[in-house]
């Protein structure tokens, strides 16, 4: 088993008065895919957004508890969220490329973080990011055309390339395939098994099959609580909790 990359302890999240997560503790391992499943509204996205502190953006949201990455508390006052998010990339449910060229979409992150020193450096980052996202061959002739002109699946891979461009260690994916057809989904799943060699990946998904195919560990959430977390094989063949059993067999959800 790989070493622990992310460790969440006793996480409570509140939206105003409403509590969305209750005492969630979970470890996620380096260079593996961890899947988060559970019925709609159970707090998967909320949990995911704790890991790159995107919840900070929401005024009414407050997070209690402790999340550490490589042993560093990411909610510590000395941590700058901007550098945290440089190491923890995120891909959203709906592809959200900037309404700019493909090139600019990817060059943006490296540019603001000062990662590339020259135009050739930047060109190289754009190319390798696109290659890692398995998109380069499809778009190499139109790097300067708008990213919003790509197909949905291509846009999502563009967003993955954008996340990769700043050399993160962790990539968070919130239902990255929910807006895609099966072929585009298969491409992204293949991509994930490629990417996990280099990155730690946490993926929220509504598809049991997808979780089974891509992940090594799976956590099951229900009504804001983490019900069970174990290896994906165990969760799907021999879950320890009745609710998990009911959910994966489709008896509720």
């Amino acid at each position: 088993m790989n070493k622990i990359k992310i460790s969440a302890k006793n996480i409570d999240v509140f939206y105003g008065d409403k509590q969305a997560l209750f005492d969630v503790s979970m470890d996620m391992y380096e260079k593996e895919v961890t899947a988060l499943i559970g019925p709609s509204g159970c707090g998967k996205s909320t949990f995911l957004r704790c890991i790159n502190r995107m919840n900070d953006v929401i005024d009414i949201c407050s997070v209690k508890g402790n999340v550490s990455i490589d042993g560093h508390d990411i909610y510590d006052k000395s941590i700058r969220v901007e550098s945290l998010r440089e190491s923890v990339g995120m891909v959203f449910q709906k592809p959200n490329p900037f309404p700019k060229s493909i090139y600019e979409n990817i060059a943006y992150g490296p540019r603001i973080h000062g990662i590339a020193n020259s135009k050739t450096d930047l060109d190289e980052i754009v190319e390798t990011s696109l290659q890692k996202a398995a998109l380069f061959d499809e778009v190499k002739d139109r790097l300067h055309q708008p990213g919003t002109g790509l197909s949905g699946g291509q846009q999502q891979r563009l967003c993955i390339a954008r996340a990769i461009s700043v050399n993160p260690e962790i990539i968070l994916m919130d239902e990255p395939c929910s807006a895609l057809d099966p072929i585009a989904t298969a491409k992204i799943e293949d991509l994930m098994s490629e990417l996990k060699k280099e990155f730690t990946i946490i993926i929220v998904t509504h598809s049991m099959q997808q979780a089974a195919r891509v992940s090594k560990n799976t956590g099951f959430f229900h009504l804001g609580k983490l019900i069970e977390v174990d290896s994906t094989d165990t969760i799907f063949s021999n879950p320890g909790n009745q609710k998990t059993q009911d959910y994966i067999t489709g008896r509720f959800g």
Binding site: N52, M54, V57, D59, E82, S83, L84, R85, E86, G89, M90, F92, K94, N96, P97, F98, P99, Y108, G109, I112, H113, C159, R162, A163, S165, V166
Partner: protein, 423 residues
């Protein structure tokens, strides 16, 4: 089976009735606009023309050898006293007139600045002045209105400003081919004047332009920054709610109140110069600001949150996410709002009256610190004058004002079309 039931027939009928109401409403609006435009156009277009009368000027009576004018500077020519000479040149149209009173009436068919016009001709053509030149002088307003057919000739003489004998002179000149009807360039370049035939809108066009530029320089950056801060950065609490409500209130404040504010504070407390485009611009900025802020906030709100999240997720600071991604996308909307605000400011009159931009200004302003009129105030000023010449100039000024407003609104529409982003 698919026959219309009684109920459906009733619904269809009421739909038809509804459409008729709508079309009637639209027709009414269109007819009113059309009548307005026709009315203004028909009474205003003649202001763009003026009547001129040719006289023969014997410049050799000023200097025997007319080639010497070429050596004189413009200043020197301007200093020449050509008053009596000019009069004599006019008298030469009708050498038989002896009576002093009749001579005076002859002079009066010309505009009062005939001496200057004779000088200006000299200055313009000083390189090769012939002994005798034909110079076209501006006719007086009375003659101009007769030429334009605005002046009833059949009124009894006592009730006319123009006398029978003047009409006689005019008819003779007309028959001799000395009367020419030309495009009135000075109307577009000169300032106001006590003589209707000499009054121009140049001063108010420049005044309006300087005012609008002042408004743009002041209210665009302030408006955009305020909107961006309120929409993107400010936490929503009592204080920001209070500001928000008051910005909306500001948009509803009658414009004359801003004029009072300008009078009370900008003129009396800060002591900025009265009647100037600078002060006018400051006052109108107060009016334009809420329009810009509200429009900009609306277009910031229309930028999908996913764009902000995308930028934040790669580690952009809040300011970078906003300035690099959100603001550029909101810019077309902000610009449209700004232009609409400027168009409102361009047509605004009441606040300008209070800060003294209603003064009679002859000179075309050359900086925002010069006293100046503006187009809507010029309309207001001339609309109060009785002379027929001012009546047509009022309408012509309205035409220009409407023209500028239509141009601005067109620009707003074009910007919106061109930069509209589809998500």
């Amino acid at each position: 089976m698919f026959d219309a039931s009684a109920n459906l027939k009733k619904r269809l009928k009421s739909e038809r009735r509804f459409q008729i109401f709508c079309i009637t409403a639209i027709s009414f609006a269109l007819i009113f606009v059309l009548i307005l435009f026709l009315n203004i156009f028909s009474s205003g277009y003649s202001a763009f023309y003026k009547t001129t009368i040719a006289i023969d000027v014997d410049y050799s009576q000023v200097i025997e050898d007319t080639t010497q004018f070429a050596a004189m500077s413009d200043d020197e020519i301007n200093k020449l006293d050509l008053f009596r000479f000019s009069k004599k040149s006019i008298y030469s149209l009708f050498p038989d007139i002896e009576d002093r009173k009749e001579k005076k009436l002859l002079i009066r068919i010309f505009s009062i600045e005939y001496e200057d016009e004779i000088k200006q001709f000299l200055i313009k053509n000083k390189e090769n002045i012939k002994k005798i030149e034909t110079v076209y002088l501006t006719a007086s307003d009375d003659v101009d209105q007769v030429r334009k057919g605005n002046y009833p000739r059949d009124l009894p003489e006592e009730r006319r400003r123009i006398k029978d004998i003047q009409l006689e002179y005019y008819d003779i000149l007309e028959n001799n081919g000395r009367v020419k009807y030309v495009f009135n360039i000075p109307f577009l370049t000169r300032g106001d004047s006590r003589e209707p035939e000499l009054a121009g809108v140049g001063g108010s066009i420049v005044g309006s332009f300087l005012t609008i530029i002042t408004v743009l320089i002041l209210s665009f950056p302030i408006g955009i920054l305020a909107a961006v801060y309120l929409q993107e950065f400010a936490k929503s609490n009592r204080f920001t709610d209070f500001i928000e409500i008051n910005i909306n209130n500001l948009a509803a404040v009658p414009s004359i109140v801003f004029g009072l504010l300008g009078l009370g504070i900008i003129l009396n407390v800060f002591g900025l110069p009265r009647s100037t485009p600078l002060v006018g611009g400051i006052v109108l900025s107060l009016m334009t600001l809420p329009t810009i802020i509200i429009a900009t906030r609306a277009s910031l709100r229309a930028v999908p949150p996913s764009i902000r999240e995308g930028a934040l997720a790669v580690g952009a600071t809040k300011m970078q996410a906003v300035m690099h991604h959100v603001v550029p996308l909101a810019m077309p909307g902000a610009l449209t709002g700004t232009i609409i605000g400027l168009a409102q400011a361009l047509g605004e009159t009441a606040p300008l009256l209070l800060i003294g931009m209603v003064a009679f200004v002859v000179d075309v302003p050359s900086s925002p610190l010069d006293a100046s009129a503006s187009l809507p105030v010029q309309v207001y000023l001339w609309a109060e004058s009785a002379e027929r010449g001012y009546v047509e100039k009022t309408s012509a000024t309205i035409m220009l004002l409407l023209g500028f407003l239509i141009l601005l609104n067109l620009a707003a529409v074009l910007i919106r079309r061109k930069f509209e982003t589809k998500w």
